[in-house]
Each structure stands twice: as C-alpha cells, then as structure tokens.
C-alpha cells in the first residue's frame, strides 16, 4: 500500500531520491535548537487565527456610534475598526479566544525569535558559512516587530491610538525628511488620511506576512542546505554531523513540540486575558491614559524614549533633531545595524575566516560572550526603564529617582556585566584545563602503578 503510493508519486514527480534524503535528514539534538521551531509554530498559529479575525474585522475609520452588548460603551463615538473588534471579541462565538490567542502568539513569536537569536549569538552559530541564514533571521525579527506593532495599532482602541501617535512622533523626528516621510505614510498630519488604515491593513495581513513567510522558507532552505550546527562531543567534528534522522526519530518530537506550542497558546488565549480593548475604550486625538504599556517587544523603545533627557538639537534657532529620534529611531537602527555587522566585525577582529560547523559554548569565546551580555543588560535596563511608572504604582518608588538611577545604570551595569561575564568564562575555561590535566596525571599515575 505504502510502496504503491511512493511509486505512484515518484512516477509522476521523480522526487523519490529527494524524499529519501528528506526523511533521513539529520537533526543534531539539543534543547536550544528548538527555539526557532517554536517561532515557526507560532507563525502558523498567527496565520490561522489572523485569517479568522480578518473574517470579522473592518479596517475602517468611518465614524459610528456604539450600540451593542457591552453597556459601558453604549453611545460612544468610535471607528468601525474599533467597533468591529469589540463585536468580534464580545459577540462572535470563540472570537475572543481567537483574538487573545492571536495576540499571545504574537508575543511568544517575537520572544522565541529573540531567544533563538541569543542562542545563535552566544554559540557563534552566525559564523561562516551561515551568515546569510543569520541576516535573514534578523530581517524576520525586524519585520515581526513591525508586524506586531501594526497588529495592535489596527484596532483603534485608546492604547493603539497612543502607540500610533508615538510612532508618528518618532517618524517626524527623523532629521531632514521626517515630516515628509510621516506625510507620505499617514497621508497628511496625524491622525492621517482614512487611507492610512487601508495601508496598515494591507501591510499587516498581506505584505508583511508574505514577506515573513518567504524569508522563513529561505531561512529553512539555507539551514537544511548547510545542515545544522552542533555542539562538540562524541563523534561530532567539524566535518562529521551526528544526529537523529527527521523520520522516524525527529518527526514525532517536532510535531509534538508543534502541538505543545498550539496547546500553550490556546490555553493562554482562553485563560489569560490580554489587551481587553473594550475596557481601554476608543481612541480620540484628545484622549490618553495613565499606565499605558506596549506589548513587551516594544518595551525597550518606550524605555529609551523615557530615558532621554529633555532636549531637541537646535542650532541657531533651527530644530535639527527632535528628541524622540534618539530613543525611537536611532536606538533600534543601532541595535539592528550592530547585529547585522557583527559577523563581519568578528571575522575582522578574530581574523577567523574558516567555516565553522561546531558551536562554541559561551565560555569558549569569552570576549564575544561578555560583549553580548553587556548589550543584553543595556537593553534590559532600557526595557525596565519603560515600566518605571508601573513600578511607581506598585512599589511607590519615585518615578524621577528611578529614571535618574537608570540613566546611570544604563552605562555602568553593562560595563560591570562585561567584566563579570568575561571573568566567569575565563574561570570556567581555566577550571576545565585544571580538571583535564589532573585527569591526565591520575591516568598516568594509575598506569605507572599498574605497570610497576
């Protein structure tokens, strides 16, 4: 029966050799190699739930007055975009489950990519010959951030409106061309032309998903073409790959992980409330709320915007660089730019131009590990600074004092963590050398005793 199927398929496609290779494709085994897979499975959930949402969502800024099942909003002026989202959340069966799952999947998607990126950086997996794979992965991360931002902006609740206003402020702040750029994107001054909603919508549900999907396909093609990296150990060498074949060994594990991700996301979507937009209310230009926080993956940007001291760059009365540029535009550009040039910088710095299939453990490259740790702690402090107002509400810590502490910490702590991480790596390596030489000496002594 199975033979008949495979023969029939091969007679009509001549792909049996490829099929065999695909089934016996080797996966090296390590838990950290699953982070990218989790991101992939989140993407599947995002496409599926997003399609369902699109069946009910109306991306329109046409003004309407709410009359529906949620009494507190009765009589409120709002856009069709917001009204249809409230309706699909509260009146469409399973709508809220799907919407919350979509939102959770987005948060987990970016988290999985970020952790995957950390794994890649700390183990040196970006080195030759895998630079292209790495660049594509970084691009996916950047697009995922934009995609998430557009997703929660589309709803036109109070938080999404505030987020869009900040995005507009950051766009305006770009030197020289900011206002022209903002005019181009928004179709005029904020809140922009009604067509702006069509632009966000086509980008969120078509352009960016297609782009991300294409890049994922390219990413996976390169991964499989170059084969996976692996950690040193056993019979694994730079030239020899050891692992479990995709079928039958890896397939049930991978599918098991996929369904586990689905399970986690739907449980979160059903049980843990996220972005209850009917409570936030509709957005109006004149409205804002205290305690507004973006999704976690934009927390570093709001933190950076808040940390900047009060100044615009003004020369001879002419405004050159308005304040939001530093935190909102320069920081993300610098972080992504730095990540993009990292492989080239490391090649130049270490003069290592050889291909690598074996991964470093973080301790094996103390300076890389220390530098990556410093960058991470920097971003973490900026991220925490973004929730200083929440810490004030919860802990009673003075907001201004917190910001002062973070302004210092953002420079001091990364330096300390660089030193600490470097030290730990070096000590670990030294310890290993001591252990190894003692082991060798003991072995020698044993042999000497046995021989004597």
């Amino acid at each position: 029966m199975i033979e008949r199927t495979t023969r029939t398929l091969d007679e009509r496609s001549h792909t049996a050799p490829f099929g065999f290779k695909a089934l016996r494709y080797i996966f090296p085994d390590h838990w950290s190699f699953l982070l990218g897979e989790i991101a992939l499975y989140c993407f599947i959930v995002l496409v599926a739930t997003g399609t369902y949402l699109a069946l009910f969502f109306d991306p329109s800024t046409a003004q309407t007055v709410y009359h529906g099942s949620y009494a507190p909003l009765n009589g409120a002026h709002m856009t069709e975009a917001y009204r249809s989202t409230v309706r699909l959340s509260l009146d469409v069966k399973a709508g809220l489950l799907i919407r919350q799952t979509h939102h959770w999947a987005a948060d987990v998607f970016v988290a999985a990519i970020a952790l995957h990126l950390m794994r890649i950086v700390f183990t040196g997996a970006f080195r030759k010959p895998r630079e292209l794979t790495y660049y594509i992965g970084l691009t996916i991360l950047g697009l995922a951030l934009l995609e998430g931002y557009l997703g929660y902006s589309l709803v036109d609740d109070l938080l999404s409106g505030m987020g869009l206003a900040i995005g507009y402020g950051v766009a305006l702040s770009i030197p020289l061309v900011g206002a022209n750029l903002a005019a181009l994107v928004w179709g005029g001054p904020f809140p922009g032309d009604p067509a702006f909603w069509s632009r966000m919508y086509i980008a969120h549900v078509f352009l960016l998903p297609i782009l991300i999907a294409t890049l994922i396909a390219l990413h996976l093609f390169l991964v499989s073409s170059l084969h996976h990296t692996q950690f040193r150990g056993g019979r694994k060498t730079e030239k020899r790959l050891v692992g479990v074949p995709s079928f039958p060994g890896q397939a049930p594990r991978s599918l098991g992980l996929m369904f586990a991700v689905f399970a986690a996301l739907f449980l979160l979507g059903g049980l843990v409330q996220i972005n209850p937009i009917w409570i936030w209310g509709p957005y109006h230009v004149a409205d804002s709320t205290n305690g507004a926080q973006p999704d976690w993956y934009l927390g570093w940007l709001i933190g950076a915007l808040r940390l900047m001291p009060s100044f615009d760059v003004v020369i001879a009365g002419r405004t050159l660089v308005p304040n939001p540029f530093w935190g909102g535009a320069l920081l993300p550009t610098a972080v992504f730019g730095g990540l993009f040039v990292w492989p080239a910088l490391e090649r130049r710095f270490t003069r290592d131009r050889h291909p690598h299939n074996l991964l470093d453990r973080p301790r094996d490259a103390p300076r890389r590990t220390a530098f990556a740790t410093a960058v991470l702690t920097f971003l973490f402090i900026v991220f925490v600074a973004g929730s200083a107002d929440r810490a004030y509400v919860l802990m009673g810590w003075s907001y201004a004092t917190q910001i002062d502490v973070y302004r210092v910490g953002v420079f001091v702590v990364p330096v300390v963590s660089y030193w600490l991480a470097h030290r730990i790596c070096v000590e670990l390596l030294r310890n290993e050398r001591v252990e190894a030489s003692r082991h060798a000496a003991e072995l020698e002594a044993e042999q000497a005793a046995g021989g004597g």
Partner: protein
C-alpha cells in the same frame, strides 16, 4: 445489521492476519528494529482518545449558547486537545519509534561548480564588444524604469507641501466648546481642575484641535513677554498634544495638600513630559524639547471663552525646522 458487523469483523481479522503473514524475501532494513512496547502503545491510544474527547468538548462548548465563561472553556478544550496530541507524539517518539544516531559528512563548497557558473555568465557575453557602454545603458534604463515605478508612491501623501502640518482650526473669535459642542463659560473653569476644550464647528480629530484649560491665581502667572493678556481671568489654554511624541496631556499635577511646593504641571502619560502652565507651557520634566503651544484667550460679552488668535507655535511632535514655522488658521 448483525450480518454487516460480522462482515466487518471478518474483513478486519483477514487484514490483520495478512499483515502478520511473512512476506517474500525483503532487502535489509534501513530503519533498525526495536523492541515492541505494548504498554506505551496503550498510553498513546489513551492520549489520542483524550485528544479526540477534548476536541469534541470544544465543539460541544461552542454549540451550547449561554455557557458562562465560554471563552475560558473553549480555550481549555482546544488547549487540552492539542496538549494530549502533543503528549501522544512525545510518548511515541520516546517509546514507539527507534531513535537512531546517524552520521553524515557536512557538505563542502563547490569552487569548481561556482567557477563554471561564472564562466557561463562571462562566456555568454563573448559576442559583446562595447561592454561598458551596454552596461551603462542598461543601468540607466533600469534606474529610470525603477524610478518610474516608485514615483506614483508620492500620491500617498503630501511630500513637499507641509502647510497642513502647521494649520490649526483656531482663529480669533472662535468659541471654545466641550466634547458635546456646548460653549464653555469662563465661570465654569475652577482652579485645580483640568478641562479639555475644542474649537466650535471644527473636526476634533486633528492634532491642532484640542486644548487644555486650567485656571491659575493672577500672582501665579509668569507668561513669557509678548503674551500679555493671553490669559482670561486667570484661565490659560495650551495645546493638549504633547510636543514630544504626540500623545494627549492627560494629567494635571496640582497638589491639594502638603507638600504643595511643586508648581502645577501638565503631564503626558506616555513618557511623562511635564509642562508648566504658569510660565507659558515650558518643559519642567521629561523628554519633551519644546514648550506646549499656548492659545490666547478672551471672554466675550456672554461670558463664553473665545480664542484671541492662534497658537504660539506649531502643535504636536517636533520636526526638522519646526521652530521656524508659524501656525496658520
């Protein structure tokens, strides 16, 4: 009915027996054999059964209206369905499927092939004599066509004419109204309260529209020179849009009990830029780099607040050269 069951049973047994039959000579195995694990098989069957049950539960919860907490039960049911499926696969991976350790050589680069690709490209141009001219012409054509393809994007927005960025609906004599369009009387504005006002008969959904009104004691007012008479009976009006990133001023810090030493502040809750209404909206805290634009006020014969002109500067977030621009009505 009974006969049908018997036939199904017979067919099942026959099939099962046929599968057990030793077949003809087979080539050596590719996937190594392993010990069977009947208990694990039962566990997998049980987990698959639970997954199916959970999925049916999802359908049931969906079908029955008026179940309280429907979202939660739907989530639990669907989550459990996928969770049991995941568990079944993971048990299968560990106990029912052989885990081989295979080895393989990593691929290598193919310099020979790469060179051949390069040769195909270079040799294909063997008949060309004016290569640089052709390349230049092709470059010019591609660039021009590329530009032609991009240029219609300019229709997206007014790239050059930025007049709309400094236009506001305010002008001398325009009445201030509340969100329901009712004119605001000066007597309604009390100290230590924050009011939002809009221009009468204008679209409130534009950055230049909303203003905040606060009433201060006459001795508190230290407005910049040239703004004499901009306050009306101690009431000052500022654009409600923060000059940092465009959120709306939502908080009025004006301590009612000690310590009251801090001056009152208009606060944007996005990044906590704080502006001082006593001194003309100057920045006293936070990242904003530019004062809040002030709107001059006057009180008409019937006691209503009216604008006495336009804002002191462009409204909303700053851009290149914003301080050299004036607002227009």
């Amino acid at each position: 009915m009974r006969r049908l069951w018997r036939w199904i049973l017979v067919a099942f047994v026959w099939r099962a027996a046929r599968e057990e039959e030793p077949g003809e000579e087979r080539p050596p195995r590719i996937v190594p054999d392993g010990a069977p694990s009947p208990r694990a098989e039962l566990v997998v069957v049980a987990l698959l059964g639970l997954a199916a049950l959970s999925a049916v539960a999802f359908i049931a919860v969906y079908a029955f209206d008026r179940i309280p907490d429907q979202t939660q039960y739907l989530g639990i049911a669907l989550g459990c369905a996928f969770g049991f499926l995941a568990a079944a696969l993971i048990v299968a991976a560990h106990h029912l499927v052989v885990t081989e350790e295979l080895e393989e050589e990593y691929g290598r680069p193919h310099p020979g092939e790469a060179d051949r690709v390069a040769r195909v490209v270079t040799e294909s141009g063997g008949r060309l004599r004016r290569r640089r001219l052709l390349a230049g012409a092709a470059g010019v054509a591609t660039t021009a066509i590329g530009l032609a393809a991009i240029v219609p994007a300019a229709s997206l927005g007014p790239i050059y004419n930025l007049g709309r960025f400094t236009r506001t609906p305010w002008r001398r004599g325009r009445r201030l109204v509340d969100q329901n369009g009712r004119p605001i009387r000066a007597a309604e504005i009390h100290p230590a309260e924050l009011f939002t006002a809009y221009p009468e008969h204008a679209d409130p959904e534009q950055l230049g529209a909303p203003v905040v009104l606060v009433k201060l004691e006459p001795d508190q007012l230290h407005l910049p020179p040239g703004r004499k008479g901009w306050a009306a009976d101690g009431i000052v009006a500022y654009s409600k849009i923060c000059t940092h990133a465009g959120c709306a001023i939502g908080l009025y810090r004006t301590p009612l009990f000690p310590p009251v030493d801090k001056p009152p502040g208009l606060v944007c809750p996005c990044h906590y830029s704080t502006f001082d209404p006593e001194t003309g909206g100057t920045v006293v805290y936070g990242p904003a780099g530019r004062a809040l634009p002030q709107l001059p006020l006057t009180i008409d014969g019937s006691g209503n607040l009216r604008a006495a002109g336009n804002f002191s500067g462009p409204v909303g977030p700053s851009w290149w050269g914003v301080r050299n621009r004036r607002v227009s009505s």
